[in-house]
Amino acid sequence: MLGGLFVAAVVLGVVLWSRFGADPNLVSSPLIGRPVPAVTLPYLEGPGELALADQDGEILVVNFWASWCVPCRSEHAHLVAAAETYRDLGVRFVGVVYQDSPEAAAGFLDELGSGYDHLVDERSRAAIEFGVFGIPETFFVGRDGTVVGNVRGEVDTGLLARALDTILAGGDVGSIESGPVQGTPD
């Protein structure tokens, strides 16, 4: 009655079970529900620096990007548009340059438009604090300074609007996989 099949079922069952548990390769960011990492980074263009944890009541969108990252190039216009749309609703977008020279990053912005502030993460300490696997990766921080969501992969206007509307309504976005990310320039 019970035979090897039961074993096969057990193995398959465990595989299935892991689908609604945590898939080790698609882990949701451990940062969600925790305070935004207390990193302070200099502006790419212009003097001064920004402490990410010192937002007073603004929703923060933190986008990690680089000039060598292909999907970053195609998502950039969507980020700029959403930053413009949501500015008056108390949402601030910042870009964090990941593993890239300030010159190359500035060239990217000259070509595509900067739209909002960008920061330099010279020794990748911010990327490490955020647990960035590859770029593009975008984090959402609620008004109280808690990380409420992240998107690994490219964002577009629709995805950003849904996420920001959810957060403005007081909800959590969670972890979203939207597409491939790039880890290194090659």
Partner: protein, 391 residues
Amino acid sequence: MPRDGLIRRALAVAAAAAVVIVVWGVAFDRAPSATDRVDSLASRLRCPVCSSESIADSTSQIARELRGVIAEQVAGGATDDDVVDFFVARYGEWVLLDPPARGRNLLLFALPVLALGGGLAAMIGLRARSRRRDPAPATTERVRLEAASAQARQDIVEAELQHEAGELDAATRDRLVAVYAAEESAAAAALEELPEPARRSRGRALAGAAAFALGGAIVVAGVVVALEPRPEGGFATGGIVTGAAEGTAPDLAAVSNEELEEVVAANPDVPGMRLALARRYLDEREFDKALGHLLVVLEQDPSAEALAYVGWLTYLGGEPDLGVTYLERSLAADADRPEALWFLALARLETGADPATAVPLLERLLDNPDLGTEERAMVAETLEQARARAS
């Protein structure tokens, strides 16, 4: 006594040397240096952007910076656990190259042990069984009928093989096969009539343990084989081509799938034979082939067992609603069908249905005395999780 004196002096020198060696070792056995610890930690942590390499192995810029973070923390007095926790808090457990031995990961570590344990249990069971003399009459009858049914199936295979080898003409083959098929049907029918044994006989417990061990071994072997390069022209399973040597009776286990496939094709109306072939494919994870045969079996003899397998495969094949319907039909035919209880419970837990609906199924499964120890533990753990999710 100069000789004794010499020996005593030699012993004293040896003892002194031993003391010196021990003291030397203690004095110079320093704790691993900071660099050693950084190296060791870097080799335990996965490089986030390169995924298959450790931080130590990767030459990427980010890996160098991660190594810098480790070095800073070690210099700042962090313990190894502190450093590992730091990375897990940011990247998740994914960052650990050695999965921690807890939660679901335990299965990774437990499976080979379970397989060994199962095999051991089977051996012990076999020895104990060989000493037993007189099993209960109903069990004896069941064993006799099962053997008769298996023998008939094997006889059919032999007849087919002998015909192919030119030892039997077609007419004789047909006549023999008809006789054997009738024997098989009669044995199967008589088995259906027998009351289910109240308690699992040792033979069946043994078969369960052996099957479990085999399953574990298959999984382990699968992993090993998957890591080995495939030989040219070889199968992914390491395929051994078996052929029945002339004049020797072929053992059913030594008959290849292709041969069994031909026999089933030649004798399409023996559901037991087809079900045996389907089980074989299921064990080999050849789900498509198994499903094909199971669907034929369903038409011939919609048994609870066949319904359960078809339900599960349909479910896995992307038709969850249809799969669940089959599983429910299986339970309608036999409310205690263990595979159906298990699959349906998993399906209910997985599809986002109310987890509470899985609880009675798993409870019923736990009531089954035929469940092996490992199977029981697995079911109990699933039940616990279902209850936790239901509350």
